[in-house]
């Protein structure tokens, strides 16, 4: 029974992907496109335009923030 060698397995998986990428022809511009898109998404949009409003708050602070928001947006005439 052949012994299971995790390092060899990992290496063969690595080779599989590396050979696949190396031998790509039509797929290369697509990978360029994917990388460009991910840069636009994560390095531009996410950093400069899409800061989560509740980021950096603890769960209690988030509850408090949303609780105040939801209570404050009720109809002015809706109070009992």
């Amino acid at each position: 029974m052949a012994a299971f060698r995790p390092a060899e397995r990992l290496l063969s998986v690595w080779r599989f992907y590396a050979d696949g990428f190396r031998n790509m022809t039509w797929g290369r511009p697509l990978w360029g496109l994917i990388i460009l898109k991910l840069i636009i998404l994560f390095a531009v949009l996410r950093v400069f335009f899409f800061q989560p409003v509740l980021a950096g708050k603890t769960d209690e602070e988030k509850s408090e923030h949303v609780g105040v928001e939801l209570a404050g947006r009720a109809r002015p005439d809706g109070n009992l």
């Binding site: 335009f49 989560p52 509740l54 509850s63 609780g67 939801l70 209570a71 947006r73 109809r75 809706g78």
Partner: protein
């Protein structure tokens, strides 16, 4: 109160992103089935022709996949930034399915897509075939979890509202997953993807026939795609019928708006177009009973009692209960640390009225009516195009079966021009589903006016404009790469193929079948 322009721009931004995302998803779902069927034929018959056909559609799948990948992540950005109240309010209900989706999408797609593209000469036929099927199954399972989350927004089940955390907490995972709205929506959406893939493949194949190229490949692709597309369309019709029943039960205002039905009743007519109606048809579609009662927009606003005694609260009555719930929520939060008795009493009132929580934000009852024309017309367009495409696929399959498909050049042009139509039909479906449920982000629990974050309208307009520019650019790039790949066509089959069956040696351009 929240500025109306902020709500509208935030909704427009989300709608733009979701519509853009849905340009890629249905083709992924549909092509996955078609290319997997072709590869299965290759493995069974050991005919290189089918391998080459499968590889060509995999290339198209890859282009679509590459451009579409991560477009859904933008929606998650928007949840956190533009819809932060909503994101927190939905709690684990939304988080759990999306987390499962993310993990599945990453592991299944990253593993099996790679084997599918890189493994043709490195893994066995059967393992490669399994990877191709699992790529499609992975994409379909991803869609399941997204649609479970969406289904919950249309018909919230399996949760309890916790006023301490201001979140909905899942109490019954199975109820969330087996939510009838989610199940129907899943099959309806995925099978509409089969239609998209089928019409796309038929359109491209007809282009080859028009140009007198790749005849065998084109006809074989038409055959496989037509069968997949017809099966998908028939199933879409069945799930559409189930969806009608669910909408009538859980979102009657959406149904009334989709029909432009002001006054309801039994034997309610179905409006084909304004002025032309089929008597009793709407009752049949909504209740499977010609005598079934369907409330109209005015009935839902004024309140009604159906012939079977079922009563529907008026908008004013719902608003009163919404006020009770929202005020109890405020009182509870003000007193929970200082006056436990007052807090307990408030919590009881909240629990009794929580199903109307969102009505506490509704100022005018007219807000409860979605824009009728924007639901009515897309619904007709979706159904009309669906019927046309079923007819087209049936005609194309019949002519191919009779060996006459090459002669009908006008039909080739119609099929090619139908590619955008199937996308329009899919987008219309989502417009009906999402515009029809306005003003609700979560049906009856949270209107968009309360769900939206307090941001400056200018920043939302800025990102909207950036998205228009970026999405247009990427779409143009995708179409360009795809057209180039289609023009190049599939790789020719090697003339010598010792392992092939009776069709050995034919090339993709031989014109034989």
């Amino acid at each position: 109160m929240t500025e109306a322009a902020l709500i509208d721009w935030s909704r427009a931004q989300f709608a733009l992103t979701a519509c853009y995302h849905w340009l890629f998803v249905p083709l992924t779902l549909g092509l996955a089935v078609i290319m997997a069927v072709m590869e299965t034929v290759y493995v069974v018959r050991k005919d290189e022709f089918w391998k080459s056909a499968a590889r060509f559609w995999q290339k198209i799948f890859g282009i679509n996949f590459a451009v579409g990948i991560a477009t859904g992540i933008i929606l998650e950005f928007e949840f956190g930034t533009n819809w932060s109240n909503y994101s927190w309010f939905v709690g684990d209900i939304f988080g759990a399915p999306l987390a499962i989706e993310g993990i599945l999408a990453f592991f299944m797609e990253a593993t099996f897509v790679a084997v599918m593209f890189f493994g043709w000469d490195k893994v066995g036929r059967r393992f490669h075939l399994a990877s191709t099927w699992l790529t499609g199954i992975g994409a379909t399972i991803s869609a399941l979890w997204i649609l479970v989350a969406n289904g919950w927004m249309q018909h919230p089940v399996g949760m309890e509202f916790n006023p301490d955390t201001v979140r909905h907490e899942m109490v019954d995972f199975w109820a969330v997953v087996s939510n009838p709205v989610a199940v129907t929506k899943f099959f309806h959406s995925v099978l509409s993807g089969w239609m998209t893939g089928a019409v796309f493949v038929i359109g491209v194949s007809c282009w080859y026939l028009m140009r007198g190229r790749e005849q065998r490949f084109a006809k074989a692709s038409i055959r496989v795609a037509s069968v997949v597309g017809i099966a998908g369309t028939v199933a879409v019709m069945f799930t559409g019928d189930r969806s009608g029943i669910h909408v009538a039960e859980y979102q009657p205002m959406k149904l009334a708006a989709a029909e432009g039905l002001m006054e309801g009743g039994t034997r309610a007519p179905f409006s084909l177009v304004p002025g032309i109606e089929i008597p009793g048809m709407l009752s049949i579609l909504a209740t499977h009973d010609i005598d079934g009662y369907v409330p109209g927009i005015n009935d839902l606003l004024d309140g009604y009692t159906a012939p079977d005694g079922t009563a529907g609260l008026s908008a004013e009555a719902k608003k009163e209960r919404g006020d009770l719930a929202l005020n109890a929520f405020k009182v509870y939060r003000e007193n929970r640390d200082t006056d436990p008795e007052a807090a307990a009493a408030a919590r009881k009132v909240l629990e009794e009225n929580v199903e109307y929580f969102g009505y506490g934000y509704i100022r005018d009852r007219e807000e409860l009516v979605p824009p009728v024309w924007l639901v009515y017309w897309p619904f007709r367009l979706m159904v009309g195009l669906g019927c046309f495409l079923l007819l087209l696929m049936s005609a194309v399959l019949w002519l191919e079966y009779r060996g006459k498909i090459e002669r009908f050049r006008w039909l080739h042009a119609v099929a090619l021009c139908s590619i955008p139509l199937v996308y329009i039909a899919g987008q219309c479906g989502w417009i009906v589903a999402e515009v029809g449920r306005q003003p609700w982000a979560i049906q009856d629990l949270l209107p968009v006016s309360a769900a939206v974050s307090s941001l400056s309208t200018g920043s939302v307009i800025t990102t909207f404009c950036i998205f228009v520019a970026v999405f247009t650019l990427f779409l143009a790039i995708e179409i360009r790469i795809m057209i180039r790949a289609i023009r190049k066509g599939p790789e020719a089959v090697p003339a010598e193929n010792p392992s092939a069956g009776p069709e050995t040696g034919r090339t993709l351009t031989s014109g034989q079948d």
